[in-house]
């Protein structure tokens, strides 16, 4: 017997075999319980499966999960003041907030501002406090310079002498709240809320409230674009799916043509077409449809036209591939059963395309939420979407907390919509082809 270890293994007595039968343990030919062998075989298969997935899993972890985690963390992370003014923050923990802090707190602040001036980190403190108290940045810089001249205590009056602001509770409230390791300040700001001196959460004044509008606008533009791609793409997908392969392949190339050029090129092409002295206006004037040139570019109209163009294939392709799987005999069957052309389409064909519509629309909607360059180039002043503010805060303002908060809220809003979608349509209905 070529079995490994077969020689050493004593053959099982018949009685024992009877016992194992009696206790219902099924064994393989060489006496190992069947379950053990099965588990061993399964384990090998599972390991192989895991080995196949690990590279992608690591890639997604590193390039997707961790960055999103970091982003969510940064939206509440608040290290600046706690790092630069640790003693002051510690002293303020005792402060009741009703009157000015005590001498020890002022001494701690003076000491730490002196140190910060020396190590040139005053700017960081100023910048962080400036988010909550506009204009305080330059004062902190000036205070930092002046405070080095105070050599000995008592500090309280001396420090207040530098700038009366240091004798107001407002600044201390801000230092205290900015000194906490985690903050909801960025998240509140990203939703146009702020905290009053007493800690109440209130709406910011109307002339500084922008983000709620921006989020609604982002959702609104994305939905409009999604709807437009659906209305335009559905008939084309239907045509493609019902034409013979040769013709439909040719048309498919035309549909995919936009993918062959970069987003920026396509957007710029729309600038050329839509501008006041552009091709579309020239044609309209020439044909006498309009008397004066229309404002097509730098408007919501332009944004939606350009985005719709770019997104069209994303909506169309899933619908097309689902339509391809719908047997044409279904409509024939409906017709033979007495349904007119419209009823056959609406009750039989259309419901079967819903998974494709859902997939295409979800794809386009989510991609549209992230649009940035196109609204910037062809949109008007009121067409900026959330991404452009994320970019401004990330690249220009270096306010990564704010950028992260905007990103986190957009992510949350998208997830809410997704759950809503799942509730209404069901994610298992989603079909890409």
């Amino acid at each position: 017997m070529p079995r490994a270890g077969g020689v050493e293994r004593p053959s099982r007595p018949a009685t024992q075999a009877m016992v194992s039968l009696a206790t219902d343990i099924v064994r393989t030919a060489d006496g190992v319980p069947l379950k053990v062998t099965l588990r061993r075989v399964d384990r090998a298969r599972k390991l192989k499966a895991v080995a196949l997935v690990v590279p992608l899993f690591l890639f997604i972890l590193l390039s997707f999960a961790i960055p999103i985690g970091v982003m969510l963390f940064r939206a509440v992370d608040n290290p600046e003041i706690a790092g630069a003014l640790p003693n002051t923050v510690a002293e303020l923990a005792r402060w009741n907030g009703d009157e000015l802090p005590d001498e020890a707190t002022y001494a701690a602040l003076a000491g730490e501002l002196q140190a910060a001036h020396k190590s040139k980190t005053l700017g960081l403190i100023g910048k962080r406090l400036n988010y909550e108290l506009p204009g305080v940045r330059s004062k902190i810089m000036a205070i930092g310079r002046a405070v080095t001249k105070i050599e000995a205590g008592p500090y309280k009056d001396a420090v207040i002498g530098i700038d009366p602001m240091l004798g107001e509770r407002r600044l201390w409230t801000v230092i205290k709240s900015a000194g906490e390791p985690y903050t909801i300040f960025y998240l509140l700001s990203a939703l146009d809320f702020e905290r009053t001196q007493d800690g109440d959460i209130v709406n910011v004044s109307a002339d500084r409230a922008i983000f709620r509008d921006v989020f609604l606008r982002t959702m609104g533009i994305s939905m409009t674009v999604t709807l437009a791609t659906l209305v335009l793409g559905f008939p084309v997908a239907y045509l493609l799916a019902s034409l013979p392969a040769r013709t439909s392949n040719l048309l498919m190339i035309l549909v995919l043509l936009p993918f062959w050029t970069s987003l920026l090129v396509r957007t710029t092409a729309w600038v050329v077409l839509l501008q006041t002295e552009g091709v579309v206006n020239d044609a309209l004037m020439l044909l006498g449809f309009v008397d004066e040139r229309l404002q097509l570019i730098f408007s919501r109209f332009g944004t939606i036209v350009a985005m719709t163009h770019i997104q069209l294939p994303f909506t169309l392709l899933p619908i097309y591939s689902v339509m391809k799987t719908i047997s044409p005999t279904h409509v024939r069957a409906a017709r033979s059963l007495g349904a007119g052309p419209f009823v056959a389409f609406w009750r039989i064909y259309f419901p079967q395309t819903v998974p494709g519509i859902a997939a295409g629309c979800l794809l386009t909607f989510i991609l549209s939420l992230g649009y940035y360059i196109t609204p910037a180039l062809v949109g008007g002043p009121t067409d900026q979407m959330v991404s452009s503010f994320v970019a401004i805060y990330t690249n220009m303002e270096l306010n990564w907390g704010m950028a992260s908060a905007l990103g986190a809220i957009l992510l949350a809003a998208t997830l809410v919509l997704y759950l809503l979608y799942n509730r209404l349509i069901g994610i298992d209905k989603l079909k890409l082809g």
């Binding site: 047997s327 005999t329 024939r332 017709r335 033979s336 059963l337 007495g338 349904a339 052309p341």
Partner: protein, 364 residues
């Protein structure tokens, strides 16, 4: 003329071409009675499905007219023809339950809800699927789906039902079972059925009459029995059942009979069916089960020496391949009767057949 004898469906000089060059259906004339089960049988590309689609209204005839119940339907759209149809892959609506599928033709006819429910219930009972009304087609087996498709095509009580190879996707056993079921339903409801298939045994089992299609034209339209026993041309003889084909030349025509000199050697007495006259080429068609081994003297008009090449045991009968009349694949079916057949490969035997079992057809 009784109602049952009235011509219910008529094709009058119908032609169909897709590309303007080739006629897919050539000058089709066909009529059928109400309540008849007519099968269009033929190889793929023979025009049988196109004929069905023209009747259903999904294809328009290029020329000619189709009459249904005395009215020309050339300009009637499919949904107004009131023709039930069962499709090759059932075409059940996957997003609807079985009940909804069955209710669909009734809903589009705006029947009252209670009536719909009643009819759906009865239709389900007819195909013995009462318990399956709430399921989706995807949750049913092939045979069950087929029965739902059948029920759906019948639930709105059409006078005419078309079936386009409805059993093609089922396995053999289920197919045979369903053949009988369809046949019984047809008999009990009395609807007129036009059935398309390429399976000759299916056609023979179910049909009142069979139209054998080839090359866009009906080769023969007859009852199954007639078709098998008396094929009118070599295509039909070949397509329906098995037959031995002996090419030859007519040397003498004598009323119903004729004498043919077989190309491989030998002179055969045969029935004159489809020959032009003396001197014409012909194909003799002979069913394997009509050939007798070592026939007694005088029992057969045709007797030839043969050598057994191969024996295949098939249970109820034995297939013997012999060389005879210059043919190496002459087939004989020998019933597996008591006592065996007593053939051995390599044995020299005599084979014979009667004149009326051998039909002189067109050369092919």
């Amino acid at each position: 003329m009784t109602i049952a004898d009235r011509q219910y469906v008529e094709f009058i000089e119908v032609q169909k071409s897709y590309d303007g060059e080739i006629l897919v259906v050539k000058n089709l004339n066909l009529s059928m009675r109400q309540g008849e089960f007519l099968t269009l049988l033929g190889p793929s590309g023979s025009g049988k499905t196109t004929t069905l689609m023209m009747l259903a209204g999904f294809e328009a005839p290029t020329h000619g007219d189709i009459i249904l119940d005395g009215r020309s339907i050339s300009n009637v759209p499919p949904h107004k023809r009131d023709i039930g149809m069962v499709f090759q892959n059932y075409a059940l609506f996957p997003h609807m339950t079985v009940e909804e599928n069955l209710a669909f033709p009734l809903e589009v006819r705006r029947m009252p809800k209670s009536e719909i429910e009643e009819k759906v219930r009865r239709a389900l009972a007819m195909v013995r699927l009462n318990e399956y009304g709430k399921r989706r087609p995807g949750q049913l087996s092939g045979g069950q789906q087929q029965r739902v498709a059948l029920a759906r095509a019948l639930v709105f009580e059409p006078k005419l039902v078309l079936m386009d190879e409805p059993l093609g996707a089922l396995d053999k056993q289920l197919r045979e079972h369903m053949q009988l079921e369809v046949k019984h339903i047809h008999q009990s409801l009395g609807v007129t059925v036009v059935y398309v298939t390429h399976d000759q045994s299916e056609a023979l089992t179910m049909s009142d009459r069979i139209a054998v299609f080839n090359d866009g034209a009906i080769q023969q339209l007859a009852t199954p029995n007639e078709l098998y026993e008396r094929p009118e041309n070599s295509f039909v003889a070949q397509f329906i059942g098995e037959n031995n084909r002996l090419p030859g030349k007519v040397v003498l025509v004598n009323g119903a009979g004729c004498t043919v000199e077989v190309t491989g050697g030998g002179v055969v007495e045969a029935l004159t069916v489809n020959v032009i006259g003396v001197g014409a080429q012909t194909t003799l068609s002979l069913r394997p089960e009509r050939v007798r081994i070592n026939p007694p003297n005088g029992a057969c008009a045709n007797v030839f020496p043969a050598r057994v090449e191969e024996l295949i045991y098939l249970g109820d009968h034995i297939r013997a391949r012999v060389s005879a009349c210059g043919q190496r694949d002459f087939v004989i079916k020998v019933p597996n009767a008591e006592g065996g057949v007593g053939l051995t490969p390599g044995a020299d035997i005599a084979i014979g057949w009667k004149r009326e079992d051998c039909r002189a057809l067109d050369p092919s």
